[in-house]
């Protein structure tokens, strides 16, 4: 229960961000949808185009829609100089998402007005604006507001996904909880979002009923209560803004697994001790996070040499680790102004792993052995591995053809292997569960998989900040793989789980920082 109480204590600031984002997206969507609905009700052709577009947007999975705004905003920097990460992409994606119910109900409400009433409005001499304000708006109102209810519920739900583009929301708890199997975090996040969605839905419902039954006190009261409740929910943000004063906080980025959360806290603790104010952006996708540090939306994070080597530099050769690190450091500084401060001292490579007993029985020790057996085996991977160049390189080198290949989130990938649902997984070499679950890591005689040294990357704006770099310097070469594995396991294990912050403290003590 104390874990749940602990998780609940993290809700208020995230709820505040969640509310602010949802309300802003809804307000923007209403501002777009209202005039568009009026125009559509008058011109059927406009209605077809507008509703067609809004429906098309709905068919894009919300996660993908959010992610698509990152490259879009990045390429539109000259036009719209906002950070392509965080609030802006989340706002725009959610706004687009909310358009359909608003538009559809707005048009339906206007078209549902009795034709005689519309004719009477014209015949008594109302101007277009008078007709809209006195007749169309009040009569279409209840149906339009029902659309607002739907849009509000959708938006609040979909806002949990904005975590993936670096916008704080209740999704932070859900994503972190799913990655580290902390169900109390998942529960707290879901509960917060559900309570928010239900209260907003109920509040708008009361406004709707008050309008439909022409009870002024009811709809006015409900509107005021709703506005006050939402304003109150965003309080932590204002308090924080007031307290923080001028200086921009340092943003420490993390991808979506335990090791990244731990390292982010390790970095954050050091920066705080050096006097910086620190914020965390957890759960960023691999594709997004390097762009984020290059654009300055994230100030510092840990990436892995092979990831930058293959994904960003598009290299397919595999030099030795030191040469590779040097080449990466040169490349990131030359092309993006991003400083590679140094390697932490351990690798987190993709490593094919099997249950020890199973590997012995089948006589598999290397990727060549695995390739020979692959048509009868099932592969479990993390969510991105099957799309990554490393997988293509492995298949080129070893001619693997698995009977099935299924992507899982990392936690579930290990469970799939344990339960026999898959026979081999694309594990991570620094993962504590490799030792804990007694997995056999297969060797790579063809050297198809590049080195994955963990390394610190620093945004251009901090690249020459001596105080900043001095705070990070002690981390370089300091974290051996055994220590990292042990720290990861403290978060990933099923019992006596620690939070990433606790594990980061433990790791710091273990390596003497």
């Amino acid at each position: 229960m104390s874990a749940f109480a602990d998780a609940l204590s993290r809700v208020p600031p995230l709820l505040a961000a969640h509310v602010l984002l949802s309300v802003a997206a809804l307000a923007l969507a209403v501002a777009i949808a209202l005039p568009l609905a009026v125009w559509s009700a008058r011109r059927p052709r406009v209605a077809r185009v507008a509703l067609g577009f809004a429906s098309l947007v709905q068919t894009i999975p919300s996660l993908a829609l959010l992610a698509l705004f990152f490259p879009l905003l990045l390429s539109l920097q000259w036009l719209l100089p906002v950070s392509p990460l965080g609030f802006a992409p989340a706002l725009f994606a959610l706004t687009l998402y909310a358009l359909l119910p608003l538009l559809r109900n707005g048009v339906a409400g206007l078209n549902g007005i009795d034709r005689g009433v519309g004719e009477a409005a014209d015949a008594v001499g109302m101007t277009t604006w008078q007709k809209l304000a006195l007749v169309e708006a009040p009569l279409a109102g209840p149906v339009a507001i029902a659309g607002l209810r739907t849009a509000a519920t959708w938006t609040i739900g979909a806002a949990t996904l904005s975590t993936t583009v670096g916008q704080a929301s209740l999704g932070d708890l859900i994503f972190a909880g799913l990655q580290t199997q902390s169900w109390s975090l998942v529960l707290a996040g879901c509960l917060g979002a559900a309570v928010l969605a239900l209260s907003v839905d109920a509040g708008i419902g009361l406004v709707e009923r008050g309008l439909a039954t022409r009870r002024r006190r009811l709809w006015l009261g409900a509107s005021v209560a709703l506005a006050a409740g939402l304003a109150l929910a965003t309080m932590p943000l204002w308090r924080q803004a007031l307290r923080s004063g001028g200086e921009r906080p340092v943003v420490v980025g993390a991808k979506n697994f335990a090791e990244q959360y731990i390292l982010a806290r390790l970095i954050g603790d050091r920066l705080e001790r050096a006097g910086y104010r620190v914020e965390y952006r957890d759960g960023l996708g691999s594709a997004v996070i390097f762009g984020a540090v290059a654009s300055g939306a994230v100030d510092v994070y840990v990436d892995y040499a092979g990831t930058i080597w293959t994904n960003e530099m598009r290299r397919t050769d595999v030099p030795d680790r030191l040469a590779m690190l040097r080449a990466i450091g040169d490349w990131t500084m030359r092309t993006k102004g991003v400083r590679m401060v140094g390697a932490l001292g351990f690798e987190n490579a993709y490593a094919f792993a099997m249950k020890e007993g199973e590997a012995q029985r089948l006589g598999i020790a290397t990727l060549s052995d695995l390739a020979a057996r692959s048509p009868t085996l099932r592969l479990g991977s993390d969510l991105e591995f099957l799309e990554r160049p490393e997988w293509a390189a492995v298949r080129r080198a070893y001619r693997m053809r698995f009977a099935a290949a299924t992507p899982y989130s990392p936690t579930f990938m290990y469970q799939a292997l344990a339960s026999g649902r898959v026979d081999v997984i694309s594990a991570f070499s620094s993962d504590g569960r490799i030792a804990a679950d007694r997995l056999r890591v297969l060797s790579d005689p063809e050297r198809a998989i590049p080195g994955y040294d963990a390394m610190l990357l620093v945004a251009p704006a901090r690249a020459r900040d001596a105080r900043f770099l001095r705070a990070l310097a002690p981390l370089v070469g300091r974290v051996p793989v055994a220590a990292m594995r042990a720290a990861n396991y403290r978060v990933d294990r099923a019992e006596a789980k620690e939070t990433p912050k606790q594990a980061a403290r433990w790791l710091a003590a273990r390596v003497g920082l």
Binding site: G116, E119, A120, D122, V124, G125, T127
Partner: protein, 252 residues
């Protein structure tokens, strides 16, 4: 607002929808103070012609004048605020009370508020109805409210588009008489569109018969009852006359 009832003049008015001519070149003058019935079968163009007066329909050709002023000379809302318009589907604003419905004309024109009690009395409704919502009224009461709404801004030209068409015969007869009385009391110019020749004969001072977008007869009720006005008009007059004769036979 003109002091006297206005005259309405149609000059070669036509309204075409694609290849179909709903109104096909109508010219005629409606004298101030007259009660003119436009009679014809469905699709004869009578409603379309009527709506060119308050610009709910714009003519494809020709023009409409009120007191020698082209109706297009001023913005449509300003024109319509001087013209009462009552139509079959009534069109009361469902979210407003009877009083608010009646007062809408003066309100949107920013005139002095309507005298709702007097207007209700003019259409034989009790003043107590003022606070009711439209859905609490009978069909006949609603149409009376619509008439009061049309007269509220002090209109001197009243357009009635099948205004009595959806009412039961008793209500219809009473409201018809009431309309005629109001026409006389307020010195209005009234144009009534109807497909019912008996209604036209009993209420109007002049009957125009329309067929396929043209006026095919123009006569007084007395002339029509006495066999005048031509074949198309007589075909319509025959219906109520036959009914009257069959009823008389029943008296025996």
């Amino acid at each position: 607002m003109p002091a006297a009832a206005p005259a309405v003049t149609f000059e070669d008015v036509a309204r075409r929808y694609g290849a179909v001519a709903a109104v096909d070149g109508v010219s005629c003058r409606i004298e101030p103070g007259s009660f003119v019935a436009l009679v014809g079968a469905s699709g004869s163009g009578k409603s379309t012609l009527l709506k060119t007066v308050n610009r709910l329909v714009s003519p494809s050709a020709g023009r409409v004048l009120i007191d020698e002023q082209d109706v297009r000379d001023e913005p449509a809302p300003a024109l319509r605020r001087r013209i009462g318009y009552v139509f079959q589907s009534i069109g009361l604003f469902p979210h407003w009370t009877v009083a608010e419905n009646i007062g809408v004309g003066p309100r949107i024109a920013r005139q002095a508020p309507a005298d709702v009690a007097r207007l209700l009395d003019m259409v034989d409704l009790p003043a107590g109805l003022a606070g009711r919502m439209p859905d609490e009224l009978s069909g006949g009461q609603r149409q009376r409210v619509a008439i009061a709404r049309a007269l509220a801004p002090g209109a001197r030209l009243l357009l009635l588009d099948e205004a009595l068409g959806a009412l039961d015969p008793v209500t219809r007869d009473a409201l018809g008489r009431r309309l005629r009385a109001l026409h006389d009391e307020l010195a209005l110019t009234t144009i009534l569109v109807t497909h019912d020749m008996a209604e036209a004969l009993l209420l109007a001072t002049r009957v125009l018969v329309m067929k396929a977008g043209r006026i095919v007869a123009d006569a007084s009720p007395a002339e029509l009852v006495n066999g005048g006005g031509g074949a198309d008009a007589q075909a319509l007059v025959r219906v109520p006359r036959d009914q009257a004769e069959r009823l008389r036979e029943l008296v025996g």
